[in-house]
Symmetry: C2
């Protein structure tokens, strides 16, 4: 029963080669089965891709939530800034994020609708989660400059996406360089 490895393996291939560039033959070979055996578990490449996407989104949603639950009692700055450092340590999960960022920005043309139908709620959920975090913390800490928590959360999300994309492609050094450049400015702009 090699089907269990199929999705994580497909995820890595889709992440680094894209939908069109990934080969079912290569994926099967890495799992240790032949290409047609994939069809015992998935109805085709589209099906495998969409199930892989659902898996990646679900895992990342849990994974990101776990961080912000763990750091619930920390100050907002520690929590927000610490996320970036935490993300490096959890770099075994980078393939999932690389996959998500890739298909979010450049989805396969023929699956564009299906992709956005799953991706948009994912980012909206994160956005709402962050906005709620901003609002709740500001109620106790009262440090934010503006009470437009939705915009604050969206700005944080933009910075996070930009730096994470840098990480998954250009590596840790470029990531930390961007981070030390952008974080102090962002935080100064956010607080009173």
């Amino acid at each position: 029963m090699k089907a269990a490895q199929l999705i994580p393996t497909a995820l890595r291939h889709f992440a680094s080669h894209g939908y069109e560039g990934a080969s079912l033959n290569d994926i099967a070979q890495e799992v240790g089965i032949k290409k047609p055996s994939i069809y015992a578990h998935y109805s085709g490449k589209d099906d495998l891709f969409l199930k892989t996407m659902a898996y990646a989104l679900g895992e990342q949603k849990k994974h990101l939530a776990s961080y912000f639950v763990e750091t619930r009692q920390l100050p907002l700055e520690t929590s927000l800034k610490g996320f970036f450092d935490w993300f490096i340590e959890e770099s075994n999960q980078n393939d999932q994020m690389k996959f998500i960022l890739r298909i979010a920005y450049f989805p396969p043309v023929k699956l564009e609708h299906e992709v956005t139908a799953l991706i948009n709620p994912f980012f909206d959920s994160i956005h709402r989660h962050l906005a709620r975090l901003f609002r709740e913390r500001d109620r106790t800490e009262q440090i934010l400059y503006s009470d437009d928590y939705t915009s604050g959360a969206l700005a944080y999300l933009t910075v996070a996406e930009g730096t994470m994309t840098e990480l998954v492609y250009n590596g840790i050094d470029a990531y930390q360089q961007r981070l030390t450049a952008v974080w102090p400015i962002f935080w100064r702009g956010l607080v009173r």
Copy 2:
């Protein structure tokens, strides 16, 4: 001599389908020639791709430079903020930026070295250009909080990349939403 249209057409196809997903047949057909005729002008798909990339980088370099030359006399904030509005109006150039962002983040695996060898100097050049702009303007306006102009420029670049990526994929509405969220915070963090 349909070769002149070949690069702009290839650019659009590479931008929206990626290297692996773009088809020489489709590109040739759109130009109005047959697929093998491409080989009268380029030695193969790799060659066409790399020449397309060189073209896109060169054009965008000129195009971006033209904006910051035009706005040389304006205040720094007007110049930096205005860039985002200008970028919308010049949306006919969006395919070039979409192409560049796509291959910068997710280059074709087999051409990774050649791509990064051209992409890194491109972004470094923009980064240096921005850092110089920050330094020169701060000498006359004296408004920036920090004299670390390199970091300031890199932070601006991160924000610009994040929002532009949003534009080329998710459209103008999402772009402006991000922009109005992130710009006030970024600028507050940047100035005294």
